[in-house]
Amino acid sequence: MTPRVAPGEDPRDTGVSVDPSGAGGGGSRALTGVGEGVVATLALVPSVFVYGTVFGGLAVQAGLRSVEVWGMSLLVFAGAAQFVAVPMLAAGASPLAIIVTTYVVNMRHYLMAATLAPSFHHFPRGWLALVAHLLNDESFAVAVARRTPPDPWVYIGSAVAVSGSFLAGVLVGTRLGGLVADPARWGLDFAFPAVFLALVVVQLRHRVDWLIALASAVLSTGVALALAGNWHIVIAGVIVSGFAALILTPEPA
């Protein structure tokens, strides 16, 4: 047994470590987890799909060919970065500027990958390489909020639902243009912060949880006001969790 997680404070938290045989497929825990991940992500599927169509439609209007839009969505698979890159491409920005911007917008993945990694310790490397590519904010949020430590299969189920609905949306969008001209009018843009916020709320069990969440809310909002380009997620995420980990005692009883 590795000391990879502090003992859970919640009795539901026990017994969710990965079964070594589960990674090879066939485990019913794998199937249950994937199903749970898909169901937990359903609240986001309509918005992810609609934003996929918006991206596909915008990218084609900006002058990209459909096959380029599909290629980008499959190979990069990072909605925020893609929305930033397309107007830059259309405006003839330098390739280096586009690639560096993409990197900065996606740096938050380091935090999410580090958090999820211990849950995947029995998975073969090939699986990890594939699972890594599907890393996204929404599935990270779903996986960490459902179980402590996060269940790898719940994460995979959620990642399949998110990537499937995004790519389906992109496919439709490049063909028909964005299905909804202004998703914000229907409140669909709010589905993303709504899910993130709801998943914070269900994790607040102790006073220290509240303090961490509040500190991060304030710091990230402050940084977002000062710096464009998604820096606030990495900065608030590292500083607040790092500071808390330094002053708290590991493995609280």
Binding site: P3, V5, A6, A43, L64, A81, P118, L197, S216, A224
Partner: protein, 106 residues
Amino acid sequence: MRTDVWLVIGGMALVTYLTRAPLLLVLARRPLPPRVALWLRLIPLAVLPALALPLILVERGRLVASLGHPPLWGAVVVVALAARRVNLFVTVAAAVATVALLRALG
């Protein structure tokens, strides 16, 4: 085939993968010191509000915290329902509907 566009897409794909794969591959393989494990356990509590709050409170680099800002009321709906452990789908649907309604009225 536009080589320049594909080169940009390839570069974007590469740097994005470099943000996703290395830590997942490396940290999945070794036991972590307790304090690092504690840090990883606290990251979600710090990352989730950092994802959520700026999307609600910051618009085009400006703080929008007025009562006439629909996302603020959407956030109130989310917190009220999520604190009562209402199903995530229902919570999000109610919040989206609230924001859409307020935007239609505004």
